[in-house]
């Protein structure tokens, strides 16, 4: 529905433009790039989520049908014998024996009152030869916490794998999303932003921009950021306002390497919460909803 609404507004706006007179000088229009690195691993679960999933899993296991051993293991085979040996069987009810938790109700070697634990027979430990070539090697999971996390290396793309990282640069002594002036009116804003990124951050970078249309706007008057109410009041002259149009894009491969004499002193890859102290409250509140919580 939202998409449809966007399309309709686009059409309406596009139709409305038919040779208007431009009041804003071109040097006052700039393109800002919100460059993000999408998460590499699934989001971290909250404590509540973890506990809830555990509860659900336990319920499901309790209500599961008995494992049909006779279907998976042919009778009299070695595999069947090993499997049978590995299982823990419940104690059957016996006349004259008192069971404190009630009489067992055993069908197919499972006490139907409780969950069934299926134990797979242990295999012999594998030889450590030919790490990668050995196709039957045990599966080793990589850590979700990387070296960059341990060192808190904020310039690394390998930090906080479960979160979306945003590129922040120090331009003209101020931390912000990389911003580039529009020089030619024939070049769309997204290309201005992406070409600018390659100029300051090197050519070896692969990005994918979501849309040509800006995702947001920031207005400055005399180098000072205007908040939403101020920017709409008629007291501020339009020709003196500098406009930053925010373009969204994703980095897919490559690395941002600051080039010499291009105005970028430092850069950082940060998650949403880390942006606020660097961007300042006024700036952050205007872009906060454009950034992902995950």
């Amino acid at each position: 529905m939202l998409q449809k609404a966007i399309l309709e507004t686009r059409r309406g706006l596009a139709a409305a433009v038919a040779g208007g007179v431009r009041l804003v000088p071109l040097e006052n229009i700039r393109a800002s790039l919100i460059l993000s690195r999408t998460p590499i691993v699934t989001p971290d679960m909250s404590e509540f989520d973890k506990k809830f999933y555990k509860y659900q899993e336990e319920l499901e296991r309790r209500l599961m049908w008995t494992f049909p051993k006779w279907f998976y293991f042919k009778k009299g085979t070695v595999a069947e014998r090993e499997f049978t040996k590995a299982q823990k069987y419940p104690i059957p009810s016996h006349p004259g024996v008192w069971f404190p938790k009630g009489l067992p109700d055993i069908k197919h070697g499972r006490d139907r009152r409780f969950r069934q634990d299926i134990i797979l027979p242990k295999k012999a430990p594998e030889e450590e030869s030919g790490e990668m070539e050995n196709e039957t090697r045990a599966i080793k999971l990589n850590s979700r916490i990387t070296e960059a996390d341990k060192k808190n290396d904020q310039a690394s793309l390998e930090r906080k794998l479960a979160r979306t990282l945003y590129l922040l640069v120090k331009q003209d002594g101020q931390w912000k999303f990389p911003t580039f002036p529009v020089e030619n009116e024939d070049v769309p804003l997204n290309e201005v932003a992406e070409n600018g990124l390659r100029r300051v951050g090197g050519n070896k970078i692969n990005t994918w921009n979501v849309s040509r249309t800006p995702a947001g706007i920031l207005k400055y008057s005399n180098g000072k950021l205007l908040d939403c109410e101020q920017s709409e009041s008629p007291s501020v002259k339009d020709s003196s306002i500098v406009r930053d149009y925010l373009i969204k894009s994703h980095i897919l491969a490559g690395k941002f390497v600051p080039q010499d004499k291009q105005g970028v002193e430092e850069y950082k890859w940060l998650v949403k919460e880390e942006l606020e102290p660097l961007l300042g409250k006024a700036y952050f509140s205007q872009v906060e909803f454009l950034l992902s919580k995950v």
């Binding site: 699934t42 008995t66 197919h108 994703h250």
Partner: protein, 149 residues
């Protein structure tokens, strides 16, 4: 006539030796079923509840209240999350709209270019879908841009 004779032959008891061989063949399975039938029975037994069903959970009143509390908490959390997402989406939409309106005012030409349809634009294949655990190579650094002809 001929058919009648053939059918009759089937009914007539055969010699003792033939009967014995047939009995031996049938004796293999315990339940008196042929191996094919036995296979079907064991396959069906996997699908049917039969004796494999666990007992129903009987919760005492206190446990039932606990269960209901847990489920309620979960649904509330989900509801809040969805509401938050809706609010964020609305804000993003408003922001886009505002920016577009402003661009139309500031530079109609840039606005027209921005709203042109991009034919053949596809979602990139290089983008990674999140997995539970990271890959061995975390990031591909040696990217070389394609040469434009």
């Amino acid at each position: 006539m001929l058919f009648g004779i053939k059918n009759l032959r089937g009914v007539i008891p055969r010699s003792n030796s033939v009967c014995r061989i047939q009995q031996c063949r049938l004796k293999r399975s315990k339940a008196g079923l042929s191996p094919e039938a036995q296979k079907v029975v064991s396959q069906l037994s996997v699908l049917s509840a039969g004796r494999k069903m666990p007992r129903l959970i009987k919760l005492c009143n206190e446990d039932y209240v606990k269960h209901r509390t847990i489920m309620k908490a979960w649904s509330l959390e989900r509801k809040n999350k969805i509401e938050q997402q809706k609010i964020t989406l609305k804000k993003q939409y408003e922001s886009m709209k505002k920016a577009s309106e402003d661009l139309k005012f500031a530079s109609p030409k840039l606005f027209t270019i921005a709203n042109e349809h991009e034919y053949g634009k596809r979602f990139p294949l290089e983008i990674r879908i999140p997995t539970d655990y990271p890959p061995r190579q975390l990031w591909y650094y040696n990217y070389v841009p394609r040469q434009k002809k």
